[in-house]
Symmetry: C2
Subunit: 273 residues, 2 copies
């Protein structure tokens, strides 16, 4: 199923979710997924008729999103507009922590996954002695002080096109380990450290493996040279640990042209409060 | 109980909590309070001996804190230091969303409530059509667009010393309704609107009643003149609604001198690098 069939209308939706209690994007037997919740909400809008979805980023269990994008193929006979799709889905998604920020009718050939030209992720580390209370399940808590400027320097080595096998989950199903990293910025804001990462597409666990390895540089266990050697080894066993899922946010997916007239963005993830 | 008895050592603690599942600061029969959790954690550190606490701000149910301050009177024979108090209490507070960010030994006459010279609150509104997913229980969701500059202008009328009876809960036990509001800043950051409010002390529900009333100005139902008249009426019935508890954060309490060596709780991170 790539193009929408003739009896369907395709809608792009912009989605926010708190991944804490979810098994990730993809349907699974062992818990609630964003896909299942979204498709069931759409089916209720469609009077019980099934509606399928395709997403830009199949996030893992406990990963959050402030700007996930998916498309849904509703029956052609439904009278829909942006507000009806946005509010109807959000209503039927209650009480789950999944909400629709925007919606746009797209061409039957438009595809949330294959039309995407860039995925943007943010990873958040809470770097202080005390465990998080307000940010529980929303950050990776690292107790020892991290050297942000050392991580910034090391991050530059990872930019551009590389074989990222060192940072690729063993279970990754991508045909090629070659990816082009367009951005990997590291900065501190008070107790939080942000990793902003962008690429056309990512390998499975790539962002979390990059952050887990940069953290070794940040705490002084690894030099930038060691990181360079790990990248060149093209072997997962040469890389650092996988950073926990709860610090990761899919903050945006870019398309050209953008299907959404306006983008609601969550600027406040900039700060803890 | 004001001063610490001779057989006790008094400690000030800086506390963060997610108030969502709590009944507020004060002990109650119907659920978990910060006071109960803190005193029980302290008692476990003290080998079962009771430890009492006094707080700077008795926050309501579902109100959060990033900078609450309390004092605790531990038995004099306990060998304590800043790290032992901070980490010991944080450990025994698990798995509850309450954590100790800092601790400092203070004089027996120092009092978290009576020594405080300023309380600082932040109120957060999520101003967008879609309900919160990631920020559920941490914001007041207002769907209709709020005019921040109208609220800014109206907020200026409330600054300084006034009889705040219009913004005082009926149950408020303060002797006088006169308070001096030192700060009431309103600003937008993306989808969020922040109200930053500071005073030496507040009446019960004062911040939430101020925000609930300013919101009437923000959505165009009230003019600034109406707000002025409401203030001058000195009657709770003249004021607007009480904004919900979940948007309110106690962000700091000031003392002179400050008991904490580093009030900026990340300062040690900056210098350790």
């Amino acid at each position: 199923m790539d193009d929408a069939p003739d009896d369907r209308q395709r809608w792009a939706v912009l989605i926010e979710y708190d991944g804490s209690g979810l098994v990730g994007w993809q349907r699974q037997e062992n818990g609630l997924s964003v896909q299942q919740l979204l498709e069931e909400a759409a089916a209720r809008m469609a009077g019980g008729r099934e509606v399928w979805s395709v997403t830009a980023g199949r996030t893992d269990a406990r990963v959050h999103a402030t700007g996930q994008v998916a498309h849904l193929d509703f029956p052609i006979d439904m009278p829909l507009n942006t507000r009806a799709v946005r509010d109807g889905l959000s209503f039927h998604l209650k009480p789950h922590p999944v909400a629709i920020l925007n919606a746009a009718r797209v061409e039957p050939t438009w595809n949330a996954r294959f039309s995407a030209v860039r995925r943007r992720y943010r990873y958040r580390v809470l770097n202080r002695p005390t465990r998080p209370a307000l940010e529980a399940n929303r950050v990776w808590h690292v107790k020892f002080p991290l050297d942000v400027s050392a991580m910034q320097k090391a991050a530059k080595l990872l930019l551009g096109q590389h074989d990222f096998s060192t940072f690729r989950a063993v279970a990754c199903q991508a045909k090629s380990p070659i990816r082009t990293l367009d951005r990997l910025d590291v900065r501190r804001e008070g107790e939080l450290i942000f990793f902003d990462v962008e690429a056309r597409s990512f390998l499975h666990h790539q962002v979390r493996n990059l952050v887990g390895t940069l953290q070794l540089v940040g705490c002084g266990r690894w030099t930038a040279e060691r990181l360079q050697a790990a990248l060149e080894a093209c072997d997962r066993r040469a890389g650092g640990p996988t950073a926990p899922a709860e610090g990761l946010y899919l903050v945006g997916v870019d398309y050209d042209p953008d299907p959404f007239v306006t983008r609601d963005r969550y600027a406040h993830l900039e700060t803890a409060l």
